[in-house]
Amino acid sequence: MKTNRAGQIEVTFNWVYVLIAGAVILLFFVGIIARQKVISEGNLAADVVRIMESIITGAQVSEKTKSSIPLGGLSEQTFYFSCEEGVSEYGVVGLPARVQNSLDPIFASKKLQGSRLILWSLPYFLPFKITDFLMVTSDFNHYYFLGEGQGLSQEFIEGAVDSSNSGNSGNSGNSDNKLSINTQKINSFSEIEVKSTKVKVRIVDADGSQIQAGSRIPEQLLVLENEDVTAVSFTANKEANFFVKEGPFWKKLNQQPVPIVSKADHRDAALYGAIFADDPENYLCNMQKAYQRIRLIAEIYEQKITELEQFYQNPRESANCLGFVSGFAASEGNVQDTLLLYRTRARACSLLADSSCVEIVEMAERLKHLNGRLFEECSITLY
């Protein structure tokens, strides 16, 4: 009897022992797997963001070019682009890895989703090249242009559509082409078609007459989320007003019109930045980086002027050229004094971001004129 009982206890104890030991070992391995999963996701996020950073660096320096990043398995993810206090940050929503950049202006919607990202780099001149602006959008973003805007609509659509696809019409962007941005010129809001609730709509009022604060949103756009319907309106004074959908009405985001600080006649990078940036804070934050850069570039050109001055002080060289560089104060001034005024305003603009930023445009015009005269008279240029 005792042996039987001992046997029974031993068998039972064995099973209990096996179950407990097995459970502990299983839990141990499950714990390792769960931890590895978290580490792998973090690694993936870091890899994605690092590759994006490299692509963005390359895309930015290739001025006037568009590039496309197919997102593949990341098409369900949402990318975010933010800018606060002069620092841009971008990454994937919900993943820890992110990139911060306080030098390069990147204009994009706050949240982007799609099967591919489209990057468009445009140089910002004032009057010499300051930096490259990078516009980021996706194939889920649609841009509708109302009004001519003194050729802005046509120019943008021509640039947004990839010219290597000869089947494009003049009025709309071919969304099948990997490098084309979805754009369309419309005469009224009724021409807007919403084929999916995943799209983001951006309306550009090129003449500044169609969209006002409190005016009604087109009916077909009411199905979309508020943050997915935005608009920008440009005035004749080269100022921008930003709007977002709030229920059935437009809500204006900026209190004062946002000045577009640029002098470009063609492919105005600062103007295009206002088309791609969702809100005035994002736009002004990125422009702040450009203002900082203006100051740095102005400093280096002042040093170049010093070298030019030394060169033309040589008696063998033309005294007339020295006059253009740093001499006679004719009505048009000289390059050195104009550049000094330019740099002073650039410094104030980078610190205060106030009306001195607009005054830079006037200085830039004068520098451009003087640069041209310098080339005509002396076959040499400041820039």
């Binding site: 042996t3 001992a6 031993e10 030991a21 690092r50 950073e53 490299s54 660096t57 390359g58 320096v61 001025e63 006037k64 950049n101 306080s102 030098l103 140089p123 001149f125 009057p127 010499f128 090249k129 300051i130 930096t131 490259d132 900082q292 850069r293 740095l296 570039i297 400093e299 280096i300 050109y301 040093q303 170049k304 070298e307 030019l308 030394q310 060169f311 451009k368 640069n371 041209g372 080339f375 002396c378 076959s379 040499i380 240029t381 820039y383």
Partner: protein, 175 residues
């Protein structure tokens, strides 16, 4: 009970006790070997991760070298310009480049964000060789250094309008 039966029962008890001890020892040995195998697996995994980590570091260093070189080649502070047209590719304006080192030093924080720990040197090969270090942020301790070279034209209108030399820009990044 017969006397022989008692002895037999005692003998059986001793045998089953020894059997239990052997069984227990077997179990302990199995568990010991199991954990030794896990230890081997963990050591192997650790070594694999270490090699993988070193490879990743090299890859990141190469990527950073390319990024830094790209940024330097297209930097408006040194690029040759053609008025409002596109900048001349792969060309440095020496009248700007000679002063850019001071600018990088004065605005160290800004340009450190751009280039990080790196050394950027312009070496003119023709007509007169010279070396110009425009940026140098070497960390106190570094394990790896990756140099990248790129041939550039060096425009120097202080010598005469339209004067070009050529050389290379060397970008060394540290990690």
């Amino acid at each position: 009970m017969k006397p022989g039966q008692n002895k037999h029962r005692k003998h059986l008890n001793v045998l089953s006790g020894r059997s239990a001890q052997i069984h227990l020892s077997e179990t302990v040995a199995v568990i010991f070997i199991f954990f030794v195998l896990i230890l081997f697996g963990a050591i192997f995994y650790y070594k694999f991760q270490e090699v993988s980590f070193k490879e990743k570091q090299q890859e990141l260093l190469a990527s950073r070298a390319i990024d830094t070189t790209t940024k330097m080649l297209f930097l408006p502070e040194v690029s040759c310009t053609k008025q409002e047209s596109e900048a001349e590719p792969n060309c440095f304006d020496m009248m700007k480049a000679r002063h850019v080192a001071e600018l990088f030093k004065e605005f160290n924080q800004t340009y450190f964000e751009l280039f990080s720990y790196a050394k950027i040197t312009i070496n003119q090969t023709y007509p007169e060789p010279f070396e110009l270090v425009v940026y140098n942020q070497e960390p106190g301790k570094w394990a790896n250094k990756k140099p990248t070279f790129f041939v550039v034209a060096l425009k120097d209108e202080q010598k005469s309008p339209g004067y070009y030399g050529y050389g290379q820009v060397k970008v060394e990044v540290y990690s």
